[in-house]
Amino acid sequence: MTIVRKLVPYVIAIIASFAAAGIFIALTGANVFQAYETILFTSFRTPNGFVQTLLKFIPLTLQALAFTIPLTAGKFNMGGEGQMIVGAIAASVVGILGADLPAVILLPLVVLAGVAAGAIWGFIPAWLLYKFNINEILTSMLLNFVSFQIIDLVATGSLRDPVAGHPTTVQIGQGGFLPMLIKNPPLNAGLILALLVAAGVYLYTTRTTGGYELVATGANPRAAAVFGINVKRMFVFSIVLAGAIAGLSGVIEVAGVQHRLIVGLQHNFLVLGVIIALISRGNNLAVPFVAFFIAILEIGASAMQRTMNVPIEMVFIVEALVLLFVLLSDVFRRR
């Protein structure tokens, strides 16, 4: 019964935002109900559509977790995008330079390099927060813009694939590819990694002492400090862990999906990750489910743009509105 009651505001939020978007869709002159149908069911019509949805689900889940973990400690990581990019860069540089290594060695190296790079990129704002007390929201966000230039530098540098029109590196070694779960349509083992990470984060925050300290820090830093928790260290740890997870999402894009570094691989993942995290209200258990829902919308949105000429941003507005309505439902519950 309680779970049903918890879901009610979400259902209302979704209906309300679809209704709002319907007005915009009608303005474009498209058939509103056909648009809804495309958005909601493209993922389930074909095996390819479903696999595409899962491939979106992987980075979305990881990006959302990269936001919820620091959020648990009361901090905001806005650098998921940059951490993903440097993770992808490290993974592809290692994958290209070690192209001749066998898979047993290369694959772990690729994954570790990417995760470590993401963690380091997360460590910068964490350290600035720890040492200089600089607001982590700003620094993590500004580092995203730095990473956009670094990826451009790498993809147009000596590793560039001269044949590709768009800035892209050459392929990483075969040994660095993530194993495939399904060959056609291609689904890589990143799905399992993402689910393991999601489960791990959930268990960590709910079942371990360290996780409890994280939650306590977020709930009331002063009380936590009184009880002997090193609050500032928890802040650093949570942002570094988030960076590592965001870095992993970059690794999976490279080693699992593209097998090369492509400028622009981060798409809109940061914003969607934050939306997912906030719709989940920071609840790590809810994150994968919300991420799956958003993945469905995203795949439906591209299909809608292709077949009906309705701009893809329409769905982005829907997602932002769902978030706003979910947040509003809190206000009305308070009364």
Binding site: I137, Q149, D152
Partner: protein, 310 residues
């Protein structure tokens, strides 16, 4: 000498979006409303400024009015959700940021459709001040700009006078420092928060409109390029004061212009390094100034008069 004149002139020209957006941020912050949606409001301001001008047959005035109006609406939304509904300011700011970003690309697609190249609008004319613009050196650097450059400077001085030399300004600042005390003196805290958030939003929207109206003549996706976030940093280390915001904007604009001019100058480092400079420089400056800066005491918080303690 010539290149110095050009550099200073361009710095003044590029200072405007920073000044407008940062004064808007500062104004809201002075009553405790911390806006983090700058990037989104600037984008939607740029988008509507462009569309408004385009639909009105190239009328700059209509474009500016559209941008200011939409900025005001975003400010109003921020004030309503945080001041009346008492929701978390950062989370609401992010939601507005996302909605603004989405609308900024959606609206041109709906109005103009998807075209190979966007249409152009006329950019703002330079308005040399008679006599003053004749002065050698200073005339070119200071007195022959578009009207928004003058507006940005006058606005900064006006805001300083208003906030630190008038009764109303003092009341307004008290709301951001200690709303409890302000409330007990009969100051309407909600009204102050609404007014500053809306005016702040308008300025940020105008800052966005400056980009298509002066730089490019058209709207492109993501054209604000992090300026909104840089603005927040700028406001912080300007200590939430109007005049330091003005000087700080000159500094930011100087870095921006320098990094572009180096690029055009054909210096043998990859341009990507130059494009990183504004963000890295900002982080560096924050390292040295962040601890010392003064921040309004109640920044980012919502005042609930029915609660006993803060």
């Amino acid at each position: 000498m010539d290149s110095l004149v050009t550099f200073l002139r361009l710095t003044l020209l590029s200072m405007v979006p920073f000044v407008l957006a940062a004064q808007g941020t500062m104004l809201g912050g002075r009553t405790g409303v911390f806006n983090v949606a700058q990037e989104g409001i600037m984008l939607v301001g740029a988008s509507l400024g462009f569309i408004g001008s385009y639909l009105a047959g190239g009328s700059t005035l209509v474009g500016i009015a559209a941008a200011v109006l939409v900025g005001g609406i975003f400010g109003l939304a921020l004030a309503y959700f945080t001041t009346t509904l008492k929701m978390n300011q950062f989370v609401i700011g992010l939601s507005l940021l996302f909605i603004g970003t989405g609308l900024s690309t959606l609206i041109p697609k709906l109005v103009i459709g998807v075209t190979l190249s966007q249409p152009l609008i006329p950019t703002l004319q330079d308005l040399p001040i008679p006599l003053l613009s004749q002065i050698p050196f200073l005339g070119t650097v200071l007195f022959s700009h578009n009207i928004l450059v003058y507006f940005a400077i006058v606005l900064s001085i006006g805001l300083w006078y208003f906030l630190f030399r008038t009764q109303l300004g003092l009341e307004l600042r008290s709301v951001g420092e200690n709303p409890n005390a302000a409330d007990s003196l009969g100051i309407n805290t909600s009204k102050h928060r609404y007014v500053t958030a809306i005016l702040g939003g308008m300025l940020i929207g105008l800052a966005g409109a400056y980009l298509p109206m002066v730089y490019t003549g058209t709207f492109t996706e993501g054209m604000v390029k992090g300026r909104g976030w840089l603005t927040i940093a700028l406001t912080f280390f300007a200590g939430w004061s109007p005049l330091p915001v003005l000087y700080g904007s000159l500094f930011f604009a100087g870095i921006e212009v320098a990094s572009y001019r180096f690029q055009a100058g054909g210096i043998a480092i990859p341009y990507q390094y130059l494009l990183m400079v504004p963000y890295l420089a900002t982080i560096l400056v924050m390292m040295f100034t962040f601890r010392k800066t003064r921040v309004p005491g109640f920044l980012g918080n919502n005042y609930d008069r029915e609660k006993r303690s803060l």
